[in-house]
């Protein structure tokens, strides 16, 4: 009767990538061969070699160590830039979707207003006003990002609240908050969790974009976007400075996307 639960291959692959990323983020100095900020004038712009697998930059800093240390900051961006929008958006979306009527209509117009602006441009504008730096980036993403979660959840909840089991909950005398958060939300949250995973990948890209523009993490902090920005002047002579941080972004993004797909498969409602 009880079906053996099989873990989707995508979830396993994504989970391995993310677990490895998390280890690098938590204890980079245990893994990195060099101090990421140490200058080595003997290795200025050195290409990939046994001593420096990812090469070295124009100050002779080991690129492998810098890419590894950047995990700390970039995984932090992935989490901090998305967890508040996820929580706030889920709560607001659940309440709005359950209430329906005027609240849902007003919320719909707010969503329309926000998604009319390109997300990146809006975030850049807000960071430009608040001033560069990671903290202000989290604020900017938080102000805008919750809307997307709320829209997903509101749509799901407004379907779920019309189903029999929601009526059954009301007929059992459960209060609205109990029905929303204990009964409806577990049935409605899967798309938001999957989107959350994708959003973490997007947050890293966003963090890197802002870093590249000089609005995110400030040098000399090792962050993939700033590393790529540093490397752009040497693209023709020392490609490794920009390419390896880029690969790290791709790999981590892939890890989040695979995890998202795997979760979608795992959490698909069994009826």
């Amino acid at each position: 009767m009880r079906a053996a639960r099989r873990w989707p291959a995508t979830l396993v692959a994504g989970g391995i990538i993310l677990a490895a990323s998390l280890v690098l983020a938590l204890v980079p100095s245990l893994v990195a061969p060099y101090d990421p900020d140490a200058f080595d004038y003997a290795a200025l712009l050195a290409g990939p070699s046994a001593a420096h697998p990812f090469g070295a930059d124009n100050f002779g800093r080991d690129m492998l160590s810098r890419v590894i240390h950047a995990y700390t900051i970039d995984m932090q961006i992935a989490l901090f830039a998305t967890v508040v929008p996820f929580l706030v958006g889920t709560a607001v979306g659940a309440l709005v979707g359950y209430t329906g009527g005027l609240a849902e209509a007003v919320f719909g117009r707010v969503v329309d207003a926000v998604i009319t602006f390109p997300f990146l441009v809006l975030v850049i504008a807000i960071v430009a006003v608040l001033g560069p730096g990671l903290r202000n980036m989290y604020v900017a993403v938080g102000v805008v990002g919750w809307v997307f979660y709320a829209r997903l959840i509101a749509a799901e909840i407004s379907v779920q609240r019309r189903l029999d089991y929601a009526d059954a909950g009301r007929a059992m005398g459960y209060g609205p908050l109990r029905i929303i958060f204990r009964h409806l939300l577990p049935n409605a949250i899967t798309p938001a969790i999957v989107y959350w995973m994708t959003d973490m990948a997007l947050a890293i890209l966003l963090g890197s974009s802002l870093g590249y523009l000089g609005l995110g993490a400030q040098p000399p902090t090792a962050e993939w976007g700033t590393l790529i920005a540093d490397g752009k002047n040497f693209m023709t002579t020392a490609w490794w400075i920009a390419v390896f941080p880029g690969l790290a972004i791709v790999l981590t993004g892939l890890g989040f996307s695979l995890t998202g797909d795997g979760l979608a498969e795992l959490l698909a409602p069994r009826r």
């Binding site: 009767m1 009880r2 009527g101 189903l163 029999d164 089991y165 009526d167 059954a168 909950g169 009301r170 007929a171 059992m172 005398g173 459960y174 209060g175 109990r178 204990r182 009964h183 577990p186 049935n187 409602p269 069994r270 009826r271």
Partner: protein, 322 residues
């Protein structure tokens, strides 16, 4: 005042084609320990009546009238008091147990949820009681199955789970919305027996909605027949089957195959029910009725009590009976 008294219950829905009278001035009484059947064809307003009693109708639907429960007016209760009555004193079970159970919570979680809302049991007490309840409704191997999810049960077992959840608070009235319609006949019989058994052992009243006259005959003490949102006949179950007085009731009974009798063609009720947005003036059944006269079309016939416990809304009921 004990039991349930429903007076002039009216439920309206605003639709693009006008106002729909889903329930139109229904009067019902359910005495303690009694099983009242509410029968009628699809769309006659049986389920809406049931949901209106517990105020489960969502806007744009509107409910008016009086629903008195143990002397209290349910229509006037505040949200907190209403939640005490819902599930606590009046519980409800649904037609499709799969969709009425939460797919992502275990059966244990759903039974304990009901216990948490309506009893003062502690954690350990709830665990024990959940197993007892599942056992009480005839679930084989109840303790082991508590941690299963609804999709792991068969249809009949799901309905038992639904009943166990409803019974958690030991309600005094059970509203049953076609609880056996989605089940096959042998399972249906088991569930009906279970409900009657629970009625006897817990002294619970049941308001039983169904379109199945066989189920009515097997379970109910009294029957109310609904047509187009109105109750057209109300009687003890034997009287109703024996001597139906409303032409519609006669039509319904004529459409049921009877065992033992010589094989004859089943009769059906000619025509289709009226649209609820455009009820005919007068008796709603008149357009389909062989006995109808001009008088039927001019005014809605009132319920007339002509014998003890037998009332009918037909001005020609004497002729119909003859």
């Amino acid at each position: 005042m004990t039991g349930l008294q429903v007076r002039n219950l009216t439920t309206l829905f605003d639709t693009p084609r006008g106002q729909a009278h889903a329930v139109d001035g229904v009067d019902l009484d359910v005495a303690p320990g009694e099983v009242l059947g509410l029968v009628g064809e699809s769309g006659s307003g049986k389920s809406v009546t049931l949901r209106s009693i517990l105020r489960l109708i969502r806007p744009p639907g509107r409910v008016t009238g009086q629903v008195a429960w143990q002397g209290r007016d349910l229509m006037a209760l505040g949200p907190a008091a209403l939640r005490q009555v819902r599930g606590g004193e009046i519980a409800m079970i649904f037609q499709e147990p799969m969709s009425a159970l939460n797919p992502v919570l275990t059966v244990r979680a759903q039974i304990e949820e009901s216990l948490r809302a309506h009893t003062t049991l502690d954690r350990a007490g709830r665990r024990r009681r959940a197993a007892e309840l599942l056992d009480r409704v005839g679930m084989p191997d109840a303790t082991r199955r508590l941690d299963d999810y609804p999709h792991q049960f068969s249809g009949g077992m799901r309905q038992r789970v639904m009943i166990a959840i409803a019974l958690a608070s030991e309600p005094k009235l059970l509203l049953a919305d076609e609880p056996t319609t989605a089940l096959d006949v042998t399972i249906q019989d088991q569930i009906l027996k279970l409900l009657l058994d629970l009625r006897d052992s817990m002294g619970m009243s049941v308001l039983f909605v169904t379109h199945d006259l066989g189920v009515v005959a097997a379970t109910c003490d009294r029957v109310a027949v609904m047509y187009a949102g109105r109750v057209v006949e109300m009687a003890d179950v034997l009287d109703l089957f024996d001597a139906p007085r409303h032409p519609y009731t006669r039509g319904l009974l004529g459409s049921v195959p009877r065992g033992g009798a010589e094989r004859t063609l089943l009769t059906s009720v000619e025509g289709t029910p009226p649209s609820l947005t455009a009820l005919p003036p007068g008796c709603a059944f008149a357009p389909r009725c062989g006995w109808a006269t001009e008088d039927c079309r001019s005014a809605v016939p009132p319920m007339e009590v002509f014998a003890r416990g037998h009332a009918v809304a037909c001005i020609h009921h004497q002729r119909v009976a003859a």
